[in-house]
């Protein structure tokens, strides 16, 4: 600990945003400690199977990030939960679960998001009907073709995806759009068709948000090459049939008719919720935006600058983000933190 704490940065979270930030700091010669509550780095990326938009293998991409960690000799304190951050006399005091305290000149918050708990949408029966699963559950199942979506060793015949589960929904208090679930739904629909070519796949959506580069093209490929049916209408409820299949009801809003269909699996595209503990507001005065994510001071001029001087934001803790978004934000926040330490802000 010979380095002056005023010149050190704490990075909270070793997801892709935290790794990108820590690498950038290291390359600039700035001392950083990375805190990660899980047993290894990577964040949510460690849970995905294939990635949009190009359906790249997630394990390969993760390995790329782990190589960066290794090559840059990042010191990641895994298994270390940050429980509190306070600012006193211009220094940040970071406390961990074991009660250990360290001081830093700046903090880079990269603690990501929480997945929406699908059981809160009771009408879909998640956790009650075994054939109702979430998009992260599907990513996990696709890792192992021996289980996948097989039912008594048979390929599924019909699968439906439900968009906007836990997002754009005043009933669960989340008015915002989670941004990545539409394209995740397209990517997963293709994955199901690829694995089970005879299975019919339907996506129930309200709007399709294909904002990123290559997204619209993947959506068109899903229709044209994989024959996926996109049905405009929000699934209102799901109920099990005698054989355990799931009957769903929706309105086909383009025809103006109610619609009923029985599927082998119902897959809920769950949204992102803010991972920022409310306590940071009390201890630090960290402000949040309307959706509850960490808010920045100025969306145009100072993205990544939190309401607290010296505390910077990167990745999904500041709002729904893709992996490339999070990486870019991590690098940008690292630069902002360096400027801050050098007294340039």
């Amino acid at each position: 600990m010979s380095v002056n704490p005023k010149k050190r940065v704490a990075v909270v979270g070793a997801g892709v945003a935290g790794i990108a930030a820590a690498v950038a700091l290291k390359r600039a010669g700035v001392d950083a400690d990375v805190y990660e509550k899980e047993s290894g780095p990577g964040g949510h990326l460690t849970r995905w199977h294939a990635l949009f938009p190009g359906r790249e293998n997630a394990a390969t991409v993760l390995q790329g990030f782990l190589n960066e960690v290794k090559e840059n000799r990042l010191d990641i304190r895994t298994g270390t939960l940050v429980t509190d951050i306070r600012k006193e006399n211009g220094l940040f005091r970071v406390t961990t679960g074991s009660g250990e305290c360290s001081e830093y000149g700046a903090v880079l918050l990269a603690n990501g998001f929480r997945l929406f708990d699908a059981a809160r949408k009771e009408e879909y029966g998640y956790g009650i009907y075994p054939r109702v699963i979430t998009s992260p559950d599907l990513e996990k199942r696709m890792e192992d073709p021996a289980t996948g979506l097989l039912i008594h060793n048979q390929a599924p015949k019909k699968v439906a995806f439900v968009h906007c589960v836990g997002s754009r929904d005043a009933k669960v208090g989340n008015r915002y759009c989670s941004k990545v679930c539409c394209i995740s739904g397209v990517k997963q629909a293709i994955a199901v068709r690829e694995q089970y070519p005879s299975c019919e796949v339907m996506n129930f959506y309200m709007d399709l948000r294909m904002f990123g580069s290559g997204f619209e093209e993947l959506y068109q490929e899903a229709q044209e090459k994989y024959g996926i049916n996109f049905i405009r209408g929000r699934v209102s409820e799901a109920a099990p049939t005698l054989d355990g299949s799931i009957q769903v009801k929706a309105e086909d809003t383009l025809l103006g008719c109610p619609l009923k269909v029985t599927v082998d699996w119902l897959i809920l595209l769950v949204g992102m919720e803010p991972g920022i503990p409310g306590s940071l507001h009390d201890s630090l005065g960290l402000e949040r935006d309307d959706a509850g994510f960490a808010g920045c001071r100025n969306k145009f001029l100072l993205p990544g600058y939190s309401s607290v001087d010296g505390l910077f934001l990167a990745g999904a803790c500041a709002g729904p983000a893709t992996i490339p978004d999070s990486v870019n934000q991590g690098r940008a926040a690292a630069l902002s933190a360096i400027h801050y330490l050098n007294g340039k802000v």
């Binding site: 044209e224 383009l254 008719c257 619609l259 009923k260």
Partner: protein
Amino acid sequence: MNGKNDKWGFHTEKSNLITLDSNDRSLVNILAEQVPSLNSCFFCGSCGATCTASDDGMNFRLVHLLLRRGELQTVNKIIRSCLLCGKCTLVCPRNVDTRAVIYNLKILIHELH
């Protein structure tokens, strides 16, 4: 009572519920094999807006949607008014060969009857 309600447009009719489990949706698959661009349709409605026969009820977007849901009852009647002029194909942003779809559909329906 019934007659009176009819006057105001209220009357009991066959349910308009679409039951995908029992509806026969094979026709759209045959058409998509013949004209693969059909699958790219995102139901924007450009074809219906420009249609020469729209006054007579023709609407390609609607026909495609009904086929996709297996709601075939009215399709035959609707497409009768299509003149195969091809205007819809000119405006489609997803390059669906709409005219070829209707042409093939007319033949398929003719074969079915």
